[in-house]
Amino acid sequence: MKREIAVYGKGGIGKSTISANLSAALAAKERVLQIGCDPKHDSTRLLTGGRRMTTILDHIRDTGPADHRLEDILCVGYREIGCMEAGGPKPGVGCAGRGIITAFELLDKFQLKQQYDYVVYDVLGDVVCGGFAVPIRREYADTIFLVTSGEFMSLYAANNILRGIRNYDGEQARVAGIIFNSRNLADESVKVEAFAEAVRLPIFARIPRSEAFAKAEKAGKTIVQMGEAPAQLFEEIAERIRGELALYPARPLTDEALEELILGAREQAHVRKQAQAGAAETPAEKIPAPELSPTELSSAELPAGEAPSEDAPAEDAPAFAYDPGVLSKNLIRSEPLHGCAFNGAMSMAVHLRDAVIVAHAPRSCAYLSWQTISSTGRRALFERGVLMPSSLMPNITATDMDESDMVFGGTERLLEAVRKAAGQTDAAGRKPKAIIVISSCPAGIIGDDIDQAKAFSTPDCPVVTIKADGNLAGDYLQGMLMTYTQLAKQLVDPQIKPQPDTVNIVFEKVVAKNTETNYQIVREFLGRMGLRVNCRFLCDTGVDEVKNFCSASLNLLGYRDYTGKILEEFFETNYGCRFFERQLPVGFEETAQWLRGIGAFFGREHEAEALITEHETEYHRRAEAVRKDLAGKRLMVVTFNHQLDWVLSAALDAGMEIVKICVFNFSQDEGFRTLLPQAEGIEIEENYDPDKAPEEIRRLAPDILLTNYESDAAAGDILVDTIPMCPDVGFFSGLEMIERWTRLTGAGRKGSWHKDRALVEKYFAR
């Protein structure tokens, strides 16, 4: 692509007309995309013949992220110009600035810009909040034009835009100059020229006030298409853009200086007019600008195909690859979001134990995340005296964004926090090995660009940014997925070659109580087979281990659920990593198969068989022992779990009959999975309606009801037991659960406290 051009100006100043004509002129020789960034979404109207189009934001609102289609929002206009409108809310509601950010995020996923030579952004410049400043950000516009007239408010807006640019650029040069759109006001040239001189910018072009614009407007066309003067002017502007374009840094004025300048210019003009006694105004131009040469073009016919393709079907839009990235189930299904991506990202990132996590957030967000992170550790410490460092002392610091950050932006505060974190050392004199910046809702809404923190990145301490933007990116699971994939993309070294006898464990559930004990069991199994773990991705691991991710010959999934499968595909596709087909094993059959599979992969079949043999006799002895109590008993399962082979196989081994498995919709998983050969004969109902449970339990009359939450749905003598979301790995998990049932059968085992429910209503009403 040659250039990305942002045309900024006060509302109503004519920037859309100028943008459209500029696009039309550029499109004579190159491919042009024009993106309107004004909520009133009429930037491209003159290029499309006034055709109504779906705005990007309306499209985002009405479709889920997996269903976004470029052809729904890209319209092909005059000279094949790609036309898009960001759109936005109706006045007085919502946040139009945030809308621009959201729209640009989608455009990035389409990788659309690469298909064009020029991209023209037509941007409202009255409000230079973080959202409307998006096109200024360096990864977007490389060339900026300011459209202004001689009106004070227009110049004021232009100066504000320069401030916005300076905030992003400093002394970098990106401003091509001022496009002076004349209103034929008194002393107008003097003021604009004085302003241009003061901010040291050229007046790139002067657009005369002409009836031709109104005429073209009425026709729904550009004057370039109409071929009427001053179309030639735009052709000349386009030609200059195609050539070597001088760019200048933004040097805004203070409000006081601006006011003084404009008032001063007015006085100077008055003096000059008096002196010149009516002579034509010929202000000295400090920087050359194209002559006002509104050459009358003949009404030459336009080449065929150059007229706006009013009837062009949407399907004519080129087919672009849309990469929405990894998406959580909530996002794909357009379900209500459970939790926020910020929290999910924070909860995962703290497991990089030698990194520092900088939460760009108000105190409340950081606090809520810390509670999520620490709750597991607190309970583990209290219940079992287990110390979980990542949970109990997470490496978190926060920017504590306050009211002034919401108004003036919080980037400076963020940069200070990152600078401070990068400079700190621990008691042993070690600096952090990475800094991970995660953004909250407010940071995302006001448009803080957390990527600026990457300026502090060094080879020894990379700065990784995760733009969770609170829940703007999605739910808790989405934040987890973003952290997994962003840390991988920004840290994993793909050049590392797989090492023998080395594995990674990918996707353990860090909030489960038994994560550490499960890992110890797995590590013992692996150790017995002579295998070592390089990285637990992401659970209590280090930056170096993540960098060396590719050193593993085989990757072992903790859970082969929705998230696990996404991560498997991600690493296979991007790094060519190999994954074992089974998740960490729960129950005898799974454990035996898991050991045999890994043993076969690494040539350790004997070691695997030895492990199985050690436990096999005991398993069968204990399974036989419970048969006398459980054989023939009817088991019904009503659950959020999507994988239950570990307990179902034990129940079947004990001779139980499984009458039905009812699976609720769950925000973090989908698709009930079983490898049991007996599953074909069992009724399994997914997306189960909980309201059906009481009637079905009565009808099916199970002896044992297995659920996640013990409830009163099972009245009478039915034994109800709860099933853990994250069961213990190893040979005996399922067996231990059904052994428990043998102890629970019999009258009175529920406890007489059950009878006191009415007393709660009587004495404890809330």
Partner: protein, 411 residues
């Protein structure tokens, strides 16, 4: 690495607001924001002020409760931040009107929602009208949660909003006092770890002095009690960090006198001193309370003396306190003056104290760093102990509990 970066994250005014309003009986606090801001507040409000018998998420509708009993929310997402939250708010209010019985509806913006500037009050009123709701049901809207302001500021803002909404001016104070004077308790919230035990103890001690409690503002208070708040003879600030500003507000706008301790009145002597001030203000007899305290001191003496004879402790035992300013002052004074212990007032993460009075995060963090000490919980979050019997660190019984925890912690 962790040693250098760990800070104790504390809640901010968003939590103070929500817990303040949640402390009113039969209220619905609707969070206009994402579920990420909801889950913690619902779980904490429910753990503190029990309402549900089961954690089964199916007991509560997905919309708008997301399987929890408290703090329904509008689950704003990126679309709502652009287009506004009006549609979801109206739908949620309609649902609540149809399905939930409440005396007060409070709508609080999340930090993100506050930035988009939706007119909450107009939307709420329209929603209630469109739902056909009883116009007598009050609706309160809070547009800004106060970014990174303290939890105490948020809580006191909630108190002030409630006062403005329900208390008439000028105060309807009776010309002559009734037989038993009444006080309001200010500065207790459901976010206080032992608030139920605190309330019970204050009610017990006040009753010994012949004083009744009119209401404990925003701490298990009913709206009708709050309406009658100005009828009380005196405002008693329990925790100055959470209640002093409210007391000043009531004094200025309602002419209500107040008494306020300089820190949390922890321990026998501070309790006696504080309740003596209350009784003096109301012309009541504090003697029964003093006798109650002396009996407890006698009991405490026996236990301390026995340990002391064996070990020479508790004098000189190092302790550290982490908490609000009022907590630090209150605990430090009692532990130093009564037990003769020695305070480590430095950085909590560097402490070598044998007894640490703090919340569960601090205690857990210190344990994870390998510190050897006994942690005594004074605030939220907890490590996980479930208090079936209401406990307190305030009043006479609170002093006894601290004595018990100190003696067991030292040995």
């Amino acid at each position: 690495m962790t040693d250098d970066y760990l800070e104790n994250m504390v809640p901010d005014s968003l939590s103070g607001l929500i817990f303040g309003f949640e402390g009113i009986r039969n209220v619905v606090v609707l969070l206009n924001g994402p579920t990420g801001c909801k889950f913690y507040h619902s779980a904490t409000a429910d753990n503190q002020m029990l309402r549900q018998m089961s954690f089964d998420p199916h007991n509560y509708p997905m919309l708008w409760y997301f399987g929890q009993p408290r703090v329904p929310c509008t689950w704003l997402d990126k679309r709502d931040y652009v287009y506004g939250s009006e549609d979801k708010l109206k739908e949620a209010v309609g649902f609540l009107h149809e399905n939930v019985t409440f005396d007060l509806l409070v709508i609080v913006n999340s930090p993100g929602a506050a930035l988009i500037g939706d007119d909450l009050e107009r939307i709420a009123m329209e929603a209630m009208r469109e739902a056909g709701a009883d116009t007598a049901i009050p609706v309160i809207t809070v547009e800004s949660p106060g970014y990174s302001q303290t939890v105490m500021q948020g809580y006191q803002q909630a108190c002030r909003i409630v006062i403005d909404a329900f208390c008439e001016k000028p105060a309807r104070r009776s010309a002559g006092r009734t037989a038993r004077p009444k006080v309001n308790l200010l500065g207790l919230s459901i976010f206080h770890k032992y608030y139920q035990g605190d309330l019970q103890e204050y009610e017990r001690l006040l009753s010994l002095c012949g004083i009744d409690v009119q209401t404990s503002l925003c701490c298990e208070s009913e709206i009708e009690e709050i309406r009658r708040l100005p009828e009380a003879d005196l405002n008693v600030v329990v925790d100055p960090d959470y209640g002093l500003e409210t007391a000043r507000y009531l004094e200025k706008n309602y002419g209500m006198p107040y008494v306020c301790p300089d820190g949390l009145p922890i321990g026998f002597e501070e309790t006696e001193r504080f309740f003596t001030r209350i009784c003096e203000a109301l012309g009541c007899d504090v003697a029964p309370l003093i006798e109650d305290s002396e009996r407890a001191r006698a009991r405490s003496f026996l236990y301390i003396s026995r340990i002391n004879s064996l070990t020479g402790q508790p004098k000189g035992v190092r302790f550290a306190v982490h908490g609000s300013p009022a907590q630090k002052l209150g605990y430090s004074r009692f532990l130093t003056d009564y037990f003769g212990m020695s305070e480590d007032a430095g950085d909590i993460w560097e402490t070598d104290a044998k007894l640490v009075f703090a919340d569960g995060n601090i205690i857990g963090g210190l344990k994870a760093r390998g510190h050897l000490f006994t942690g005594i919980e004074t605030g939220m979050p907890s490590l996980g102990y479930i208090d079936v019997i209401p406990k307190t660190h305030l009043g006479v019984n609170g002093a006894l509990l601290i004595c018990e925890q100190v003696l067991n912690g030292m040995v």
